[in-house]
Symmetry: C2
Amino acid sequence: MASPPQATVENPRVLPPNHTHTTFAQFIQRAASVCSPDNVTPTICTPCTTRGSSSPRQSYVCPRDVGEVQSILRLCNELTMPIWPYSAGRNTGYGGTAPRVPGSVALDIGKHMNKILEVDVEGAYALVEPGVTYMDMHKHLEETGLLKELWLDVPDLGGGSMIGNAVERGVGYTPYGDHFMMHCGMEVILPTGELVRTGMGALPDPTASSRSDLRPDQQAGNKCWQLFNYGFGPYNDGIFSQSSLGIVTKMGFWMMPNPGGYQAYMITFPRDEDLGAIVDIIRPLRLTDPLSESEQDEIAKKLKLGRWIFYGAVYGPEPVRNVLLDAIKGAFLSIPGSKFYLPEDRDEPHSVLRTRAKTLQGIPTLDELRWVDWLPNGAHMFFSPIAKISGKDASMQYEVTKKRVREAGLDFIGTFTIGMREMLFNRQDEEQKLKARWPIRQLIQDCADRGWGEYRTHLALMDQIANTYNFNDNAQMKLNEKIKNALDPNGILAPGKNGIWPRGYDRNTWAI
Amino acid sequence: MASPPQATVENPRVLPPNHTHTTFAQFIQRAASVCSPDNVTPTICTPCTTRGSSSPRQSYVCPRDVGEVQSILRLCNELTMPIWPYSAGRNTGYGGTAPRVPGSVALDIGKHMNKILEVDVEGAYALVEPGVTYMDMHKHLEETGLLKELWLDVPDLGGGSMIGNAVERGVGYTPYGDHFMMHCGMEVILPTGELVRTGMGALPDPTASSRSDLRPDQQAGNKCWQLFNYGFGPYNDGIFSQSSLGIVTKMGFWMMPNPGGYQAYMITFPRDEDLGAIVDIIRPLRLTDPLSESEQDEIAKKLKLGRWIFYGAVYGPEPVRNVLLDAIKGAFLSIPGSKFYLPEDRDEPHSVLRTRAKTLQGIPTLDELRWVDWLPNGAHMFFSPIAKISGKDASMQYEVTKKRVREAGLDFIGTFTIGMREMLFNRQDEEQKLKARWPIRQLIQDCADRGWGEYRTHLALMDQIANTYNFNDNAQMKLNEKIKNALDPNGILAPGKNGIWPRGYDRNTWAI
Ligand SMILES: Cc1cc2nc3c(=O)[nH]c(=O)nc-3n(C[C@H](O)[C@H](O)[C@H](O)COP(=O)(O)OP(=O)(O)OC[C@H]3O[C@@H](n4cnc5c(N)ncnc54)[C@H](O)[C@@H]3O)c2cc1C
Ligand SMILES: Cc1cc2nc3c(=O)[nH]c(=O)nc-3n(C[C@H](O)[C@H](O)[C@H](O)COP(=O)(O)OP(=O)(O)OC[C@H]3O[C@@H](n4cnc5c(N)ncnc54)[C@H](O)[C@@H]3O)c2cc1C
């Protein structure tokens, strides 16, 4: 099947491969009979690309419950319709809600399925549906008084969904910052429509057998589903992360019990060349907090900031915090010119330290959206390489990246977490868009040549990045493809995601 | 194919399904030409079961390098030979080196491949081959002076292999006690012989391309292979744990940087009924250290112990430790009659606290082998259920288990970690062996009826336990089978492991 459609009047670009207006209309009609017409928004297939027009660029289907997700998947298999699921659709920097294969139907899982199903203080966990955002969860903890007991870990922006972020292996800043590692138990619909619960969820709750009137997804979960992640036998959860092997409809998360105290801080360093020394100090302290950089010394001076800034927090009762803070100061303040600040020491408007002080205790904010307001209509594309935590490697990575971004004449914001970089461009400016892509394509290669790879990427770069993970004649990709074809024989779920093309799609034809 | 062989003269029980002496001899001969005859030990197929005799119960093949593992797997596919890999073969309590399908060839991966490939202090990780035991690693750290920098996490017994324990998702007692969670990067041979490196290992090291004389497994790994676990795309590592989908030939482990101080302690509680209160105290303290029980009050008194004992340790510099110890004492000593001890307070020989004081700082011991010396020729079978960390659930689980073990007339040692139980029997006494199985079969059902499942199990119980994880008409098992059949189309790798039967094996015929 499947080669890229040509944009002609008869077959506009927005139609999925191998579909005609007639077969597409048939899908829309049947999807509407599953989810009700209100929950199906077809694209208007005008004979041009819809970019810049107000008609939707994708067709959207919003299932109302898990049973409807299953029905839609079965329908997609029947009609070989590619589908692209998302939870909140705030995947900014990585492609938003756009699919890899043009014309794929967008499946908005979170619109109706947005309930916090459980927050358990004793077990320090939550069970949520796809639409639950960090903001929602924070509000819930606040309103129920549970914030006293449980802390959330949030990414920089609080508008995304807990499930969407975690399945993409997003990160936050507290000790619970590896969101996928801190998940416990999933409910997943396989591409062919079967519903699986992973970990202890595979062991039925004793109450379930007496409720045969309920669909499986409505049955109470095992009491240990959110307590013990592995269950018995192969641990499958990982294959549903950054993947196209299933649609997650419920997911459990461990939450941090209130650590008994908290102190955010910031340390500034005057010189660009300090980076190496800073990273070497961080490593043995085993801190994984972010470093930020402001591109211009002037700004740095005006804002009373350094060229490099280290943000961090310590957790625990006061005597514990004091010991930790002393160790941190002792180590960092050895760098000449460095300065230590607490949030109350910074009075500028939009203080990043004050924002971080929130983020580092799990209070979601939208403050960092301001990063992209630097340009009118600012947009951005993330470039997120992984490198060794060593001063030498960090400095080298910083130099390599800055060089390419400058060559492209773009602005550059660099932050290190375990290594993340961000790049700004004006999204309505085609030239700027291409400008942004060029250095990234170069950078992917520059990095691969040094043994660095990316942890996550924008749609447009998935193939290229997947292709850098090519050890032993692409052995990993061949494994991924085998599993993909076994679980999704018709290749309907998110084809092309992260470079994995189902049988029937020719990866060369589809390359962008 | 494959129904269980009948033990006759022509086809003794030790031959694998669908093999004759001739085809088996053919395999042995070809395996010997791969690994050299010294490394192949055929079973002597006397026309009786070999139990009790001195002839080997299995045929063993000991590949000398990764290339030979690949060749043996290809040979197994060609001749449909079931094979059962292990690393050190110390899987005591869970079946040792025995395979699930009688007659399967044992693949001893660790005999020759037993090198510590790397210990990196800056990154706090190690990369090892299958034969490396906890003892080996400890010795290495001691001899190289690295113990000052890096701590190991060890299970109760130090004779097992780091890889064998971790792939079975074994546990230890320090903050790095979840050995599978703390692994980072694998090299795996798929059942069909392909070599895959997971995570960042999939991204070639830049030096590799210049060394085309090396086999892929001999190429240097990516510098971030042991630093960042996920890499890009689906995270596959979990499917190689408790599984029959691959043979792990290298694996990375995160190690605990020396926490800057350490204090082990023990608290005793006088009464059986204290268990509920103890568990309720542990939960909010978020401690995951083990609780041990001595079955008899007399022993307890004689040894100056209580009916329940809590062992733990705090890590960090002294002021941090003091804060933590105060919180722990404050919480536990509210239980009447409870007593707090440091290692120096206990002078009995074989002090469990002194053993734990080692284990809790990652020094491997074999002391707990004494647990099974209680009976002459003592052996044991682990029963390891998972329950909610709540006083009520722990007490209930304790009662349910003790009742069944007593009904069977066996001794009982109970320890809680996240829930582990152990049971003693005399391994040369057939009656005792059956006695040990009966309560466990009962217990599996008793537990499933309450929503509790096991995290790991003995060979003899794999089918029954897998079958309790049967949510939604065994959806998880069907997923496991799909993946198994996709990756191992001839069903040669560890068929039946954890209840997963490849296509061609009828699970009902093979049930035990
Ligand atoms: C200024 C700025 C700062 C940012 N900081 C961070 C940060 O600190 N950490 C971080 O991780 N990210 C960060 N991001 C990136 C992004 O905003 C977040 O990751 C966000 O949480 C992703 O959006 P979402 O949760 O709505 O995911 P969605 O858009 O809902 O989903 C993302 C993708 O995941 C998959 N997916 C989603 N839901 C499901 C499902 N139910 N089943 C199967 N697959 C699914 C789909 O492929 C989907 O395209 C930042 C972005 C910006 C602009
Ligand atoms: C008194 C006592 C106390 C114990 N305490 C603990 C404890 O605290 N924690 C704990 O976890 N266990 C404990 N055990 C159980 C057991 O001793 C350990 O788990 C031990 O480490 C397992 O043996 P091994 O590492 O040699 O594994 P192996 O016997 O080498 O392997 C075990 C299984 O893992 C799989 N496997 C092994 N290597 C590979 C490979 N390279 N590729 C693919 N699959 C592979 C195979 O299925 C194999 O059968 C205890 C046992 C006893 C008797």
